[in-house]
Each structure stands twice: as C-alpha cells, then as structure tokens.
Symmetry: C2
Subunit: 319 residues, 2 copies
C-alpha cells in the first residue's frame, strides 16, 4: 500500500479498539492491521460463523485480548477506556444467515445496540459494518449512498438485509439523540485470505471448485453482475474513515463489475486450467446487479480500491 497523505489509524496515537466479530473474515483482518499499527485490540466473537483459527493467530500477542461472548446478549468488557467499538459481528453469507435467521436478526438489533451503549458509556467512537445488501435488488445502478434500496422485508434474505437496515437506523438514532460519534460503512462483496471455505459466496465457491477440478456452479444464466473488493482495500478505507468526522453511510467496494461468466474466465486465468460450468436455478431474491458508487469515499477519505481481481485472487489463494 503506498504512503498516503490522508490520516489513517496508521498515523494515529495508540488506540484501544474493541472489535465484535473479531474471528470473522473482515474482523480478523482489522485485528491484524490495528495490532501491526501499535494499537490495543479486544476481540469478541461467539464463533457462530467466526473461526477459532482466526483468534489463534493473535492469541499470544501482548496487545490482544479475546472475549468469547454473544454480543446480542451483552458485551462483557470491563477494562480500560475504549477509543472505538467496531461492530463487525454477524453471519454474512446467505447460507450462514439463512441457517441462523433469528441470531442474524438479533446481532443486527440487540448486538448493534449493545455496541452503541458500550461506545456511549466509554465516550468512544462506534463503527458499524453495514452492507451493500441494504440496497437489496437495486433499481439504481451503480448504487450511491443516497439510494434507499429495494429490499423484500419478508423474503428469505430479510433476516440479514433488514437487520442491517435496522442497525443503520439505530446507529443514526444514537448519533442524533445521544451524540455518539458514529461511522457507517456499506461493505460490498469482499474476498481475501481467511474466508471460510464454506462461505457460500461466489468467489469462494468458484475457486474451491476449480482447485478441486469440479465444474463451477453458476446460478441463472450467469449474466448477473457483482463487484469484488480485495480485503486490504476495505481495511484501508475503514482505517481512513475512523479519522474523519462523517456520520452518514459510506460505500466501500470495488466498482469493477463482472458478470458471473466473466468471473469464470478470470478464475480460469488464475487457476490456469480449463473449467466447466454447471447451471442451477437462481435463488429467491438474488440481486441482478450490485456495484458501488464510490465518489463519497473518494471525496471524504481520498480512497479508491487499488487491487485488481486478478492480483487479489492470486494473493488470496497464493496462486
């Protein structure tokens, strides 16, 4: 990552940061970054979708503490004053959240509120990991932060989508009515090392299928599009956003758009083998397109993603 003129946690005095979902994919990369920058990190996870191996990476680090807890039932932190509470806990892939619909709803509601209360009690910042899923199956393309979304409130995905919309609403309510110093990011599809192999999202599925020599499972005709952000770009954006006072949601994603069939081609280039595809019916409420408008992040934190899909895949899977 080139040196940057904008402030980030890299140039900050040492902070004490509590991260919910620290054993998850994104959470574990935040832990790594903040520890490397000299900050103190308290990780919290209940391993409903996080991985113990992601905690083990940092268990012996002198500035890392881990609390095993379900943040929907409270965050049992009794230590020194926190600078940040970062709420990244939630099942995030459709197979996971559909397996745990009530838990997913709770970590969006009670979990977010417990984080906000903790931040309020410590006069700390509160950082919400929201999602491009708040845009649902969008009618506006690409999606700017001002777009209100198209989400089915009673669909099979609503346990995640509505939980995150609720999380944004309660974050704004604590900001407006209780003065909490909040941030909200809407994370678009992100990939990188330490994703669960059974994550169930397309990059993981494709790469693991290709590596095993199996045909790639394409839903529908493969013309639906997605954009894919490498984890390092996301973490850089998060780090910068912590250093500016901006409370409305900010999209963080890579606007390079690929149809599923184009993704198949890139995977083929990375893996170096011919791959075959097998086609299945498209799941309920699956969005047709999803692509971030990132002008806001560019404007307020001078951020653009720097890692191409080809580079990122090679890096993620050491190919």
């Amino acid at each position: 990552m080139p040196e940057t003129p904008v402030p980030s946690t890299a140039t900050s005095h040492p902070l004490r940061i509590l991260i919910t979902g620290s054993a998850g994919f994104v959470g574990s990369h935040l832990v790594e970054r903040f520890l490397n920058e000299g900050h103190t990190v308290i990780g919290v996870d209940n391993y409903i979708s996080g991985q113990v191996s992601n905690t083990d990476l940092f268990r012996d680090h002198p500035r890392f503490t881990f609390i095993e807890a379900d943040v929907s039932h409270g965050i049992p932190y009794t230590g020194e004053k926190l600078d940040w509470v970062m709420h990244f806990a939630s099942p995030a892939s459709p197979p996971h959240y559909q397996q745990f619909p009530v838990e997913t709803l709770m970590v969006g509601a009670q979990g977010t509120q417990n984080g906000l209360e903790l931040a309020h009690a410590h006069s700390a910042g509160f950082f919400l990991a929201s999602t491009s899923e708040v845009y649902g199956d969008p009618h506006v393309h690409p999606q700017p932060e001002t777009y209100w979304g198209n989400v089915n409130p009673i669909g099979v995905r609503s346990c995640y989508d509505e939980a995150k919309r609720y999380a944004e609403a309660i974050t704004m309510a604590y900001h407006r009515s209780r003065g909490v110093n909040t941030r909200i990011i809407r994370i678009f599809n992100t990939y990188g090392p330490r994703m669960r192999p059974d994550d169930g999202r397309v990059i993981t599925n494709f790469v693991h299928q290709a590596l095993r020599g199996e045909p790639l499972t394409v839903y529908g005709d493969g013309s639906q599009t997605r954009s894919f952000q490498y984890i390092d770009d996301l973490v850089e954006g998060i780090s910068r956003l912590m250093m500016v006072k901006y409370h409305d949601p900010v999209n963080l994603g890579n606007p390079d758009e690929f149809t599923m069939l184009e993704l198949v081609e890139v995977i083929q280039r990375v893996i170096g083998n011919n791959v075959e595809c097998v086609y299945y019916e498209i799941p309920l409420d699956d969005p047709r397109q999803r692509k971030p408008a990132i002008e806001k992040a560019k404007e307020i934190i001078d951020w653009v993603p720097e890692v191409s899909l080809l580079q990122g895949l090679k890096e993620a899977y050491k190919l």
Copy 2:
C-alpha cells in the same frame, strides 16, 4: 356492523388474548371488541404513548387484566395458556416516535421478539401490527403487499419505518424457522375515538384546530394524498384475519384517497364552519401519496372498509 358470513372472533369460542399496547388507540379498541365478544384479555402497556384513561375503561371488567410493563424488556405474563399474543405496542405518530427514537426501535425489535417468544412458549398465535410506513415514500401506487417499499434507512422517520420492517422480518423468521402461527397486517392511516389529541397526525390536528377556530396547518401545497380508515373497519379486519391461516402481510386501510385540501373541505362540512389554512414547509421524508391496495384482504377475509370519511368523522368526534 352487518352480520358477516366469514368467520371472525365474534363467532369463536372464548379466547385468551394478550395485547401489547392495550392503552393505545388501536389496542384499546381491540380490548373493547374482544371483551364484548366474551374473550379474556390481558392488556400490557408502559404508557410511553398509551393513555391511562384507555386502561381505566376496562379496569373493572371481570375478564380484563392489566400489566404495566415495557415489552421491550420482557412480557411478565405468568398466567394460563394464551391463544393469541397481539403486538400493537409502539409510538406510531411522527412526533411521538421522533421523541422516542430508541424506544421505538426497541419495541419493534426486542418487543416483537419478546411477543414471538411468548407466543411460541404458549403455542399461541402471534399477530403483528405493522404499518403502511414500510412502503415509505412509495413509487408504486396504490401499494399492494408485494411492493417492497421505498424507505430511507437513515432518515428521521427510520426509527419507526425500519423498526416495523425489522418486526416483519423477525415475525417471518419465527414463522419459518420455529413454526409460530403468525399474522402481519400493514395498517394504513386510521382514526376514531380515543386518539390522543396531541397525536400529531393530520385528522387529529385538523379537527382540533377547526373546533378551536384556529387555521388548519397544511404542509407543502396540500396536494399530497392520504387515505383514512375508520377504527371499526380496522378492528373487523383484524378479527377476521385471526380466523384464517395466512402468514404474509395483509394491508388494512381505506382506499378512498384525499388530498390534504380535500380533507380540509370534508372537515369544513363536518364542523359546519368556514376554516382557514396556514401553509408550512413539508417535513423531511414525508410521503407524497399513500393508498392501500386491498384486494388481498377482500380475497382472503372478504373485507372492505364500510365507513366513509364523513360518517367516521361525525362518529369519532360526536359531531
């Protein structure tokens, strides 16, 4: 109300029904109806927007019990087996919910979940009072239940709108994953006796202003439309829906549409005096139009509203 061939709670064996928000406008009318039909009713309210006078109406009734409690923190019911848990608790008018944004969010999330858990424990039905606000500022007109809505997740109204969308999502999650026998109604603007004079919605404002001889406050140019349902029509629809197995949301509202200026004329006819108007800037995220499509209610419970605005206003205000 004419006799009806469709089943309703009027023809049911005696039921034991717990109603959250029993001291609210709609809740109190449900209590009255169910007691009159021979059922046993447990009312629950914390009076954040309900009125003690609505509890006093039934306090001496032998089949009525009242529990003062905030259902967001639990429903302390320890009595005999319930047949229904009906979740009608929530601030519902913009001035109330904007005064209590966090409480409004909580009664939609924790409150709904506590009701679902209670219903599950008693193998009782769960009946959710949702709202036309889940449609937000709709792009589809009139709004059928299949419309996904246009809600600003971070707007000043989102503490109510997103709480209700979340409530629908968690209700469907308990139905799908835990087998709870659920109902969801989306209530459109409703008026009638026992609305709070400081309710803040247009009918209450206009009638009270007109009765005091004050000018009526119109927001914007008065061309935005609303439809107004008389409380008795709503209660009839609720009663019928309890008797059919249907789990997706059902709109209950009156499709007769009035611009604010047309409403002024009706008020003038009812009051019998000339009224003047004073114009203010339109509030943030105020919906332009809202009108229910009620084909679904007609199809499954043979329900249409029967009370005209003129009749209803005369009845509500004894004019």
